[in-house]
């Protein structure tokens, strides 16, 4: 069972690496911001799977912290671009 979970987790990490292409190539700053947000969400999913594989809930705390930080960062960049900060 954990072999399949490991496979899925590696697939999610691969998706995160593919999304880094958009972070590097994105023509505008907003493209980079949304791609980074997606990387954060995909890494969240992978962290959930890793915590299931190892049976330790410390990964879930890390996933929660990355979710909060990604939300704050994206909102801040959006507000800054809109000139409302």
């Amino acid at each position: 069972m954990s072999g399949e979970l490991l496979f899925f987790a590696i697939c999610f990490i691969a998706l995160a690496l593919i999304l880094l292409v958009r972070v590097i190539a994105g023509p505008t700053i907003a493209d980079r911001a949304i791609a980074a947000d997606c990387v954060e969400v995909v890494v969240d999913a992978a962290l959930i799977l890793f915590s299931l594989i190892s049976g330790r809930s410390i990964f879930l705390d890390i996933a929660l912290v990355t979710a909060v930080l990604g939300f704050i960062g994206t909102t801040l960049i959006g507000r800054y671009l809109g000139g409302e900060l």
């Binding site: 069972m1 399949e4 979970l5 899925f8 697939c11 999610f12 998706l15 593919i18 999304l19 292409v21 958009r22 505008t28 907003a30 493209d31 911001a33 949304i34 791609a35 947000d37 997606c38 969400v41 995909v42 969240d44 999913a45 959930i48 799977l49 915590s51 299931l52 049976g55 809930s57 879930l60 705390d61 996933a63 929660l64 979710a67 909060v68 990604g70 939300f71 994206t74 909102t75 960049i77 959006g78 507000r79 800054y80 671009l81 809109g82 000139g83 409302e84």
Partner: protein
Amino acid sequence: MKIVIDVFIAIGLFFALAGTIGMLRMPDFFCRMQSSTNIATLGILGVVIGGIIYALGFLGDPSMAVKIGIIGIFNLLANPIASHALMRGAYIHKKKPVDELEVDKLGEDLVEEDE
């Protein structure tokens, strides 16, 4: 039981893959934003549901299941706010009306207001 978990996580992986391909293929920023929603909703929800079943059924650890549920709910609550803020910021940042869009009612209204 194992099959159900696998199916849920595979659904999540499929939608995350579709969102990633959309992110790479879409022509402009606003369409990329739509694909990113695909990852943040069903992509993570499939993993969350599968993870809750796994934590309850195989690990027997309800506190882990609760934490996974919190991550899923938090993502669902926080993602639209971040998307909306970024969309609005990027829209205001551009020149109006934006020429990549076929229809742009907001730009027309904003131009009317300025005049």
